[in-house]
Amino acid sequence: MDRKELKNTIRDVFYDIIEKSAFMFGEEVEKDEVDVNYDKFVRADMGFVGDAKGEISIMVPEAMCPEIAANFLGVDPEDEKVNEYSEDALKEILNVTCGHVLTAIKGERAVFDLTVPNIKRGIKLKEWEKLFRSEDSIVCMVDDYPVLIKFSIKNED
């Protein structure tokens, strides 16, 4: 699988997971079409080891997290439970995406141990732009929110 195929696979898996889990919908987008009007972002990271090892990260605007949580829970975004659950919801989207990406690229016989996802809040636009410009990042657009995904994998010999 070349880099372009890998990126397309990751994007397709992510869109499928966020649609099924949080009823949010992704759309095809090119990097130069993305307009970012947010100043604070949240990043979730996790790693995996096994038949290959690597890491996956998702960075989203902070404003998107309560919407993901509300949709997961089936409540209004203003519901008092939403803030309490918003980090967890992003971590879960990352966790499920990671598991499905690994199956998509390494097959159903491969075995991986996944780490528990970590979250980092208060990320500034500068850091978003750095990842955005990276050749390794995958840009997605979900319900008008820009989303960046970074995935790295190294085969175990």
Binding site: A69, E92, N95, H100, A110, F112, V116
Partner: protein, 126 residues
């Protein structure tokens, strides 16, 4: 018969979604207990009568696999059906889980229909 169910996952949002899905699926639930890892789950299993356990694999402190191993060492706990609810799609891992006595495996994301089918099959002794 109303079932006492234990949901084990380090994600609060997943525990909430499983509880809601059981409700939507029409499963007759008595009490629902929650644990954030395998160790907390074993503590609840020690105190409460539980009919069915839904558990994730990857959790801090004690994983779902370690929890299943510990349950197998106990004459009573080993009879409680465990359903693993996880993101992993590895057939090798699923075979390993079944060999440990796990009754069913549900891959995230899941639907109410999947949960209902698994609960019905376990309760009918299939």
């Amino acid at each position: 018969m109303a079932l006492n169910i234990l949901v084990v996952d380090d994600s609060k949002v997943v525990r909430s979604v499983i509880k809601k899905t059981l409700d939507i699926a029409g499963v007759d639930v008595g009490n629902i207990f929650e644990a954030g890892d395998g160790k907390e789950a074993l503590e609840i299993l020690d105190k409460e009568w539980i009919d069915l356990v839904f558990a994730d694999i990857n959790m801090p402190v004690m994983t779902g696999l370690e929890m299943v191993d510990r349950m197998k060492e106990d004459g009573i706990l080993q009879t409680i059906p465990v359903v693993i609810v996880s993101t992993e799609g590895s057939e090798t891992r699923i075979e390993e889980l079944k060999a440990k006595g796990v009754r069913a495996y549900i891959r995230k994301p899941f639907t109410p229909e999947t949960i209902k089918k698994v609960v019905d099959e376990i309760m009918e002794g299939k």
